[in-house]
């Protein structure tokens, strides 16, 4: 029982990341009809926003007086952080510690800009082109983006820890009457889950309660009508792309403490997020969220030893297996509307 509860929690957390990436992907696909292979790279850029802010806060200059010698025997100078110089000891230390949450503020404008530039500069020329062309050009873009990041940040993962206050884990089991340590869960992952729930709620509220959102939903229901909706449709497309980029980017920012970001983390998520979108139903927002959580939870359960002993290697293939079964039995996905991309 406790083991099942534990994996359920883990699945929620993995699902949050899948859901957030898939949400943007399906938003772009459902409205603009574009298959965006660079979406994983956007997630990666989000994570590197956190890395960058943390690096900025950690920028330092050398002290004037040497304090010892370095490994070659040369005099060594202590590093003094600029933020400490500017904001004082306590505030500076706090900023370094809280770099990741602060990066959310930093990332939103950057990710919106990334989205706008991508849409205006590239994607808008591909609305009418075949999916294969869209895939190729966005795949090329994804490679370029990750190579640029690699050029500046290297290939090695860069540790980007959460604030001190959120390290360690919370013992759920004790609350529920299990033994201590039976059901523990890291604080930061709880925050990640809450954060993604907030973002998902925000996106849904935006689509539900604003005029803009209604237009978008109308467009997703019937793509042709989007074209008939009047004057400023181009602008709406751009904004939509920006929002999708911001959602994936924020998912990346908050993900940075969970796994040290590296330049190819986007590719690692790309295939999975496509599977999530398809399982959920192309162009269905609730579908993307549901499928994200469902696949996350299934993946967690498949990694339990009790299950692996019966089906060796099941954790290697579970996601793909589920995708195959869903596509064969219910081609429009869990919550897709009939007829979208079905023929």
């Amino acid at each position: 029982m406790d083991a099942i509860l534990l994996q359920l929690l883990n699945g929620l957390d993995k699902g949050s990341a899948y859901a957030l990436i898939a949400l943007g992907l399906t938003l772009i696909f459902g409205t603009l009809g574009v298959v965006n292979f660079a979406h994983g790279a956007i997630f990666m850029i989000g994570a590197f926003c956190a890395v960058t802010l943390s690096k900025l806060f950690n920028m330092s200059h050398k002290a004037t007086e040497p304090t010892g010698t370095d490994f070659l025997g040369n005099p060594k100078f202590d590093d003094i952080l600029y933020v400490v110089d500017w904001f004082g000891e306590d505030a500076g230390a706090w900023m370094v510690d809280w770099a990741v949450p602060l990066a959310i503020l930093f990332a939103v404008p950057i990710m919106l800009a990334v989205g706008f530039i991508m849409e205006r500069g590239l994607i808008k020329h591909f609305y009418k082109r075949p999916h294969a062309d869209q895939i190729l050009v966005t795949f090329g873009l994804a490679i370029v983006l990750q190579e640029v990041i690699k050029y500046f940040y290297g290939a090695n993962p860069i540790p980007t820890p959460a604030p001190e206050a959120f390290r360690g884990s919370f013992d759920f089991g004790v609350l529920l009457g299990f033994d201590p340590n039976a059901v523990i869960y890291p604080y930061w992952r709880l925050i990640y889950f809450a954060f993604s729930a907030l973002i998902i709620g925000g996106v849904f509220a935006f689509l539900q309660f604003t005029t803009f959102g209604m237009v978008v939903r109308a467009g997703m229901a019937d793509r042709e009508t989007v074209g008939l909706l009047g004057i400023n449709i181009d602008k709406r497309f751009t904004i939509m792309f920006g929002i999708a980029a911001a959602v994936a980017g924020l998912a990346g920012v908050m993900y940075a403490p969970i796994n040290s970001p590296n330049y190819h983390m986007g590719m690692d998520f790309l295939v999975l997020s496509f599977v999530v979108v398809v399982v959920g139903g192309m162009g269905s927002l609730p579908g993307a969220v549901l499928a994200g959580f469902l696949l996350g939870i299934l993946e967690s359960f498949a990694s339990m030893n009790e299950i692996k002993n019966i089906l060796p290697g099941i954790d290697q293939i579970i996601i793909y297996l589920v995708a195959i079964i869903i596509l064969l039995t219910r081609p429009r996905g869990l919550m897709g509307r009939k007829g979208v991309m079905e023929d």
Partner: protein
């Protein structure tokens, strides 16, 4: 001749001449010159050009004709390689049974996957094939290690049974005694050209594969496949069952992939799981689109282009660059090296990514379209030079 039209025949002949003379054509720069870095005329790379060319030709029969975008074709290549190496280990180092088995096993495997995946179309089909290939890759790396030798890759060992070969037989895959890695080098002045057995076996099979692909393109079957891409609804209401057509195309392209896999293993007897990863499947998609999907020559061009990049650009290091620009004054030399360095050597992926984007943005029809545009430009120019040409601009 060969039941081809004049145009197709001349295309085949051009390809044949280029392929057979490749060891010379691909070595245009004298060895020792700074430009010799760009020579590609050594056996291993030429074999890869040709083998991936076969792979892409097969993929194009599926994708170029029917429009079904498979993201899992690398699985068939991988299966082909594994079958070939098993054949080398168990039966004989002669490449013929190995290649035959690769084609057959890849064919059977593609019947299985194709039968299931073709129940869906569009992006759903792509995801299904991707899922199958990723499952094959993940299992080959882990659970199926006894069959695949996991991360290390399946390779020959000294105590393989090889029941058809005697104890004294060759130690390398061979064609009735001619080892795949045998070669002769002819030196002409500063140039030297290497002709290897393995390359010529691949080249002949490429020509055969290319010829069959022309025949398929020009056959009623090929026409039906293009009809599938154009309008499945009309196909159905014209009394044609699209499923067996697409399945046949899928299996044919799977067999091409198996042939490519078998050849890879024959040239270099090791089969690794990496060959089945989704990025490997993506690579053949890129080759086909880059070259020009649905054209005869495109896939071969695309394959050559990508493999050239992978093998030549990745080897240009800072030292090589310094040498190229050594004739310049120091400041200028540093400047040029600093500009070019991010795009070569460890940065070759960046160049590749930019290349994809440029080609798709400006040449949606791939390199073949680029060639046609250049051809048209020349023709237009020559026409405009005639006195009565209508295109002569008024002054």
């Amino acid at each position: 001749m060969l039941a081809l039209t004049k145009k197709d025949l001349s295309l085949l002949l051009v390809v044949a001449v280029i392929t057979l003379a490749a060891p010379i054509i691909l070595n245009p720069f004298p060895s020792g010159s700074g430009m010799s870095q760009f020579n590609a005329g050594y056996p291993d790379l030429m074999q890869r050009f040709v083998i991936y060319g076969i792979f892409a030709i097969g993929f194009n029969i599926l994708f170029g004709l029917t429009g079904y975008l498979s993201f899992g074709h690398a699985a068939f290549l991988g299966v082909g390689s594994y079958s070939a190496v098993w054949m080398f280990k168990l039966l004989s180092l002669n490449v013929i049974p190995a290649i035959m088995l690769s084609v057959v096993v890849a064919g059977l495997f593609s019947v299985l996957i194709g039968y299931v995946s073709l129940r869906r179309s569009g992006i759903y089909f792509s995801i299904l094939t991707l899922a199958f290939a990723q499952m094959s890759f993940n299992l080959a790396y882990s659970v199926l290690t006894p069959l695949t030798n996991g991360e290390t890759g399946l390779q020959l060992s000294l105590n393989d049974p090889r029941i058809l070969d005697g104890a004294s037989a060759a130690t390398y895959p061979n064609l009735f005694g001619a080892q795949m890695n045998d070669s002769t080098t002819i030196a002409l002045g500063n140039w030297s050209f290497t002709f290897s057995v393995g390359y010529y076996l691949c080249a002949i099979l490429l020509l055969l594969a290319f010829y069959i692909s022309i025949r398929i393109f020009r056959s009623p079957f090929g026409m039906m496949l293009r009809a599938v891409k154009s309008n499945q609804q009309r196909m159905n209401y014209t009394g044609l069952n699209t499923r067996p057509y697409t399945l046949a195309a899928f299996v044919i392209s799977g067999m091409y992939a198996g042939l490519a896999g078998g050849l890879l293993a024959s040239m270099d007897p090791l089969a690794g799981a990496d060959r089945m990863q989704w990025t490997a499947s993506g690579e053949v998609v890129l080759m086909t689109i880059l070259g020009g999907a649905g054209t005869l020559l495109g896939p071969v061009l695309g394959a050559g282009f990508i493999k050239y990049f992978e093998n030549i650009f990745s080897k240009i290091n800072e030292g090589v660059l310094q040498a190229w620009f050594a004739f310049m004054p120091d400041g200028l030399q540093d400047f040029f090296v600093a500009i070019i360095y991010p795009f070569v050597g460890k940065g070759w992926h960046l160049t590749l990514g930019l290349m994809f984007m440029l080609v798709v943005i400006f040449l949606p029809g791939g390199l073949v379209e680029g060639g046609q545009r250049i051809g048209r430009m020349f023709r237009r120019k020559s026409r405009s030079e005639t006195p009565d040409g209508k295109t002569t601009p008024a002054e």
